[in-house]
């Protein structure tokens, strides 16, 4: 399905024609990513409406690497924060190094509080110059290094990945609404320095749907759900990562994965993901193994696809 609209804001890049080195195949670097028309459209809608893009879907479907791929394609700055159960909304704006300050004060070298302010991903995205100076005047403090890993021009927009927001306390998403909407916040630990964004960043938020997100938050996001790819798309993804399938390996691994998925479905367990499919192909290529009735493949299949868990044990008992 292709859509007819103006892609001047973003046109999905084709998969790389040259094989990306294995060591560079990090899902965070966005070097290899297979876009589909729905995903490309959702990104364009998020850009047009300047709304956060919420990407839903099971693990291993490419939610997190989407943001890096977008930043790489547009040559924009890229920042990411992986959410945990202890993440607070303020962590995306700044953190205060309380322990460091205490240590300095014990050693008799306490500095002004602003020295202990660490800018968060949204501060870097909104105003990297201010973040480098911790919101203070130029020359007042030693400057910080920009955590952006991607090559980008001085006026480039920023892409911010807020990964796995469903792991956070239920209040966190709602507490992000104001800074994301107004593109402005005040750093109370840095003499109330005001951080403003002149160019709204693209905020990509992912969720595994392990818990529901607040309605008010959902109603302010452009939402796209990534479903596991079909067989043809799966083989295309493998080709983008590993090159053309010369010996039919990808199809055989896909067959094996289908069989495991059917067995797992019968036990109401989630099927193997695209990431696991790629892991199986990478392992087969490295160990020179083809799926079949032999112990090495059985071990690979068990370790990569089946992954017997405690849940299996309790189900058996």
């Amino acid at each position: 399905m292709t859509y007819n609209y103006d892609r001047s804001m973003f046109e999905a890049p084709p998969p790389p024609t040259t094989l990306v080195e294995r060591s560079r195949r990090d899902r965070r670097d966005g070097a290899v990513y297979v876009w589909n028309p729905d995903l490309e459209l959702a990104v364009n809608i998020a850009l047009a409406t300047e709304r956060p893009l919420l990407v839903r879907g099971p693990s291993g479907t490419g939610k997190s690497s989407l943001a890096a791929s977008l930043a790489r394609a547009k040559r924009w700055r890229y920042y990411e924060e992986v959410v945990s159960s202890t993440t607070e909304a303020r962590h995306f704006l700044w953190k205060f190094e309380t322990l460091k300050r205490l240590s300095d004060s014990q050693a008799g070298g306490a500095k002004t509080p602003v020295h202990y302010v660490e800018p968060g991903v949204l501060w870097w995205a909104f105003d990297p110059d201010s973040a480098r100076r911790r919101g203070m005047d130029a020359g007042a403090l030693p400057t910080l290094d920009d955590p952006n890993r991607f090559p980008a021009g001085p006026d480039a927009r920023a892409v911010v990945l807020i990964d796995e927001i469903d792991k956070a306390d239920p209040d966190v998403p709602n507490n992000l609404l104001v800074p994301l909407g107004s593109l402005e916040f005040k750093v109370t630990d840095a003499d109330d320095a005001v951080v403003k964004s002149s160019m709204p960043p693209v905020v990509v938020i992912t969720t595994n749907d392990e818990r529901e997100l607040p309605g008010a938050f959902l109603r302010r996001c452009v939402v796209i759900k990534l479903d596991p790819p079909g067989r043809e798309a799966l083989l295309g993804i493998a080709a983008a990562h590993f090159g053309a399938d010369a010996d039919g390996l990808y199809g055989k691994v896909a067959d094996a994965m289908d069989a495991v998925a059917a067995a797992k479905k019968a036990r109401a367990l989630p099927p193997p993901s695209t990431a696991e499919f790629l892991d199986a192909i990478g392992t087969c290529r490295d160990l020179n193994v083809t799926p079949g009735d032999h112990p090495t493949w059985t071990a690979i299949e068990r370790a990569v696809f089946s992954k017997p868990s405690m849940q299996d044990e309790t189900t058996k008992s």
Partner: protein, 317 residues
Amino acid sequence: MRRPNPDAEIGLADLIEAVERLRVRDLALVRKIAEVLQVEALVRKAAPSKQETIRRERNPPPPPPPPPPPVHTPQTEYRPSTISRLQDDTAPAFAAPVPALPPPIDEASEPLPPFEALFLRSWTRAILSMSLATPGEHGPPDLHRIVERISRGQALTRIPRRVVPTLRKGVQLLVDRGSGMVPFTRDADALVREIVLVAGVETPVLHFRGLPSDGVTDLQRKVVLPYEVPPAGVPVALITDFGIGIDPFESDRPGAREWVAFLRSVRRTDSRLIAFVPYPRQRCARSIASLVTIVEWDRRTSLTRIRAALRRGWSGR
């Protein structure tokens, strides 16, 4: 460039913005964008455009295909009696040949329908973690409290830690096997497995009929034991209908008064009570609902509802 209003939810303005900036001229794509923006209702009832009306008039949809002729199986079709055949010319419509009914299904040999748990699968772990956890000072060191004490010149006799919900105290699980819970046998078994996965394999799982105080069965040890309240602070989780589903004429059906007496005896030891009930909370007796945190065991149960239930439970203490 447009600056989104932090208080504004996605609405018609966003749809227009996206349609304009992406130069969309196709109604189907407008609908698709509305779907991604979660504002489908705004275009669902919209009248078709003039061009689309003209196109529809020029290319009307093909008429639906005629229904297929009825298929009769000669071996199994109804044969009119001799008299009917003799009066064939004047035979009424009801005497026309009709296909025989399919043979009766052997229900015993039919496979069970696929199991669907009562909680939404992807949310189950988060729901159980939140329901069964108890707050305790087990988090990371509470830096703010530490700094405050030291800055006041007070000695730290112990490291204050942040209060976090924890499952380290475990849980005692009581599973109702009375006649009212028979329709939920598979659901209860699945929920027990999930709770054991979340709370740990050492979780005591005790089964009862009527009231736990009448005696509980440890199925692993295959013994019937007198009920013992767990050590102070260990939460007690019940999987029960509190007798809602039991035939009201059943003589040994425990009433609300007996349940209240049991619940009070457990609460005396400072153990929190949580009940997973497969009916709406309103169907439980008020005297019971005031003593136990009732979690409605249902697809619609979300973390927001659990939080509300826990707040009710705490305020009831």
